[in-house]
Structure formats: C-alpha cells, structure tokens
Amino acid sequence: MNHDEATRLMISEKYLLGELTPNQREQFEEHFFGCEDCAMDVRAGHAFIAHTKAALSEPTPATTMPADSRSRPAGWFGWLRPALVVPTFAVLLAIVGYQNLVSVPKLQQAAATAATPRILASVSLLNSNARGETLPTVAVRQGEPFLLFVDVAAESKYQSYVADLVSPAGTSQWSLSIPSENTKDTISIRVPAQTQAGTYTLVVRGQGDSGSSVELGRYRFDLQLHN
C-alpha cells in the first residue's frame, strides 16, 4: 500500500471506523508506521473520535451558550418572555407555511413517482471483463438511477463478495455486500443517480473465512449523462 492509494481510498477513515479486513488493516499499519502523513491522519482522526465520544455523551458545554442564559435562571415560564415568544412563533409560522407550500407537495410527488412503474436505463457488464471488448455505455438522464447487470465468478472458498463502484475521479462511490447465494445468477444492481459522467469501474472482491479479500474482477463502463 502506498500513500496515494491510502489517501484516494480513504483508508485512514476505514481504519478508524473498523472497516478494513485483518489483512488490509495489517497492510495499512505497515504503511503508516513508515508514513508520517498517514500516521498524523490516523492520530488526528482517533483524537477527534475520542473527543467526539466525550462531547456527545455530555450535555452541551456552557461555553457554547450565550452568556446571559447562564447567569440568570429563567424559571419554568421563562420561555414565555415576549422576546422569545414572538420570534419563536414567527419561525414556527414560517416552517408551517413552507411545509404546506413546498415540502408536502414535493413528498407527495416523490411518493407517487416511487409507486409508479418506470423504465430504467441499464448496462450489462457480463463481457466487459474480457480483453479487447469495447466499453459498455449507459446513457442516463441527470438525477436518474440505472441498473447494472454483472456475473460474479463464484468460488467455494469465498463466503461472500463485495462490489465497489469507483468514479472516473478514482473515488469509491459505494460498497455493496453480495451474499454468495446471489452469485448463482446474474446480479442486477440499482445504482443511485451519479453526478459525474465518464468511465466508472465496478471492482468485485471475494471475502474468505479469515476475512481476507481477493479481487476477482474489474468491470468498466462509460456513463453518459443528459438532460
């Protein structure tokens, strides 16, 4: 593992969140013991998590409250002072108005869309792992999801599989766990709307008993976005 790879794949975040396999964890530790930048990243992240845990398990500290609210006890009905009631009700009125005019119609529209059958763009990656094949292309409307079809070469030594979608910029978009029983047939994956056009790569890995993972294939495809 090198520094660029560790940064690009957000390995220090994965390490801090306990998301790495034992093998990946050992590789990253070997790297950050010799890489001051990554070591600093892990140390700062660990300190942030430690302080966040402490902060979130306590009530809001006094330093973040306005000075007058600390010096003067308000009593049970303190919140009824006109200085608080008038702006509070004005804000509530604005919220109610916004919900009725904007949020509720939007939610109704979203619910109606979700319940309506529709045709999604799709791309088959069944042959895209082979050498010399032309890159499969999918043309999708902006903000629309699409479907990926892929076959995973299952082997009995793997307990499960993981598919990672890597964007044209090289960042991991999401990670999907695939149970071994799903690999008997072609897998269809609904991909959430992407904002960036270009060549994406679906990386499929097999995960063994010991938690180690092995890359089984890379499936590239072109995403075209239109209005």
Binding site: G18, G34, S175
Partner: protein, 199 residues
C-alpha cells in the same frame, strides 16, 4: 514531535543513545503502537506490556552489530517487532479468537493530568463542539449513534438513509477541521517537554 525526519542522521543518533532522539522515537511510536493495539487487546496493562517489550527488542537490535541500516525502514521495523510481540502475547494468553473485536475498541481521550494536557484537552473538546455544531442535526445524530450506540454501523447508516461512504466523508471532513488544532497541540506538548528538560 512530528517535525523530525526519520533519516540517516536520526538513525545514527538513535543507535548511539542520544537521549532527546530516543525520547522522540519512543513518544512517536508509542502512540502508533497504542492505536494499533487498541483493536486487538482489551487490557490496558497488556497493551503497556507489549509496548515496552517492543521497544526493548527494537533498541536491542538497533544497538547490536546487525543493526538496521535503512532509516526508511525504521517504522516498518517497529511495526514488525510489535507484530511478533503481539503474536507471542496471543499464544501465551491462548485467547486468540476472543481478543479481536473491532466494534469494542476503546477511543477515550488521554487522561494524563498535567496542566498543559488539561488545557489542551479542554481546547480540543471545545473545538470538537464547534465542529459538531456546524454539522446538521442528522449528521450529529449519525455520529452519536455510530460512536456511542451498540448497534452495527450498517444498521445505523441504513436507518439514516446513507451509505458507509457518506460516513467516511463526514468523518474525513470533521477530521480535517480538527487536524490543525491537533497539530498545534502536539507542538505545545513538545515545547512543554523540552522546557521541563531544560528546567
């Protein structure tokens, strides 16, 4: 303490027993060793034992005729010695399987109680509050459930309608906001330690 370069003169000073270099070396790698061990060993006493044994072996090698000659391998060397000590610890404790547990890892702030550390800790706590206040209510609740609740991260993310990558990016951004203060605090600690030595 992060401003030292692990180069040939550093390795030379370390091998020849230069005290400030030794102190920097032990402080720097102690923190990395503790970070490494926190997900593998529960007992603080065992972590301390493994840390000390690692340094004892590292220094023994550095001062032997077969000493390390490549300064760029220094970190990897400490890590491999620590791995060996850890493996021996597993064997002797005969609890290999029950010791590893990522979700049970402890991340507690440093509890050292000197004045400088207390002030730094307070400042870092306040910075964390400011960072958390800048987050949306949903992101704050997400962090709370991830770090404080005993639920799986996948279940928490699903409940919030986000994926694991969203969580990583959230942590990454918060960490970047926090990092400058953290670096400053390390500088203060080093200056404080140097002043103690001079005094």
């Amino acid at each position: 303490m992060q401003f030292h370069a692990f180069d040939a003169p550093y390795l030379e000073r370390l091998c020849s027993g230069d005290f400030p270099t030794e102190e920097h070396f032990v402080r720097y790698f102690s923190e990395l060793i503790r970070l490494k061990l926190r997900s593998r060993v529960r007992s603080p006493q065992a972590i301390e034992d493994i840390r000390q044994e690692t340094f004892a072996r590292v220094f023994a090698t550095l001062r032997s005729p077969e000493r390390l000659r490549q300064p760029e391998r220094l970190g990897a060397f400490v890590n491999s010695v620590c791995n060996n000590v850890l493996r021996e610890f597993y064997r002797s404790s005969q609890r290999d399987n029950s010791i590893e547990d990522d979700d049970q890892t402890e991340s507690l702030p440093d509890t050292t109680s000197d004045v400088l550390t207390i002030l730094t800790r307070k400042e870092m706590g306040e910075r964390v509050w400011l960072i958390l206040e800048d987050l949306s209510e949903r992101d704050r609740r997400l962090l709370r459930e991830i770090f404080l609740e005993e639920r799986s991260k996948d279940a928490v993310c699903e409940g919030f309608g986000v994926d694991r990558n969203y969580l990583r990016v959230l942590l990454h951004r918060a960490k970047l906001s926090f990092k400058s203060l953290y670096l400053k605090s390390l500088g203060s600690k080093v200056r404080g330690a140097a002043a103690d030595q001079e005094g």
